[in-house]
Amino acid sequence: SQQGEEDPQALSIQEGENATMNCSYKTSINNLQWYRQNSGRGLVHLILIRSNEREKHSGRLRVTLDTSKKSSSLLITASRAADTASYFCATDYQFYFGTGTSLTVIP
């Protein structure tokens, strides 16, 4: 079973625009994490938000967490072509990943 499900499945935006992707999960969590994957490579950890946090920032990344709705969102501001990748969320419970959001940033 999948613990994290991302939405939308695909997103295409112009460089400089903001990109928002969402994640829903099913169980109680201690933390939720977002990862990025460039084509043909391993995943890279982006940011971790703990269950007692509602919002967290890291550079151009902003993550929110709503434990009552079992959902999280990842906002990438002022996107760049280099942000083109797939983005995944995962809960700390069993680290199951969803199908991800494929982001394309058009220069």
């Binding site: 043909g40 391993g42 995943l43 890279v44 680290f95």
Partner: protein, 113 residues
């Protein structure tokens, strides 16, 4: 910066052959994961180790797949016999402790002909 090492980077094998993948996690990381990722899909957890013990192998097809981490350090994932549907990227990840962030290797791309 320390990295998770995986080898080989690419593997081509024929159906019914045996194949093995190796992973060396970041030094000191107690938790190790193996994932399988089919093109266009998310990583699917195959097995999780805590030190040398298996924590979760509920998704591991045990009739043909096996995994070990004998000394609680590096790990080997084996497939015997390989099937066409096993063609995928096999990813290894480690973390310092359970429930902490994962560090991934670059993966082994397996093609079964």
């Amino acid at each position: 910066e320390a990295e998770v090492a995986q080898s080989p980077r690419y593997k081509i094998t024929e159906k019914s052959q045996a194949v093995a993948f190796w992973c060396d996690p970041i030094s000191g990381h107690a938790t190790l994961y193996w994932y399988r990722q089919i093109l266009g899909q998310g990583p699917e957890l195959l097995v999780q180790f805590q030190d040398e013990s298996v924590v979760d192998d509920s998704q591991l097809p045990k009739d043909r797949f096996s995994a070990e981490r004998l000394k609680g350090v590096d790990s080997t994932l084996k497939i015997q016999p390989a099937e066409l549907g096993d063609s995928a990227m096999y990813l290894c990840a480690s973390s310092l402790r359970q429930n902490e962030k994962l560090f991934f290797g670059s993966g082994t791309q397996l093609s079964v002909l």
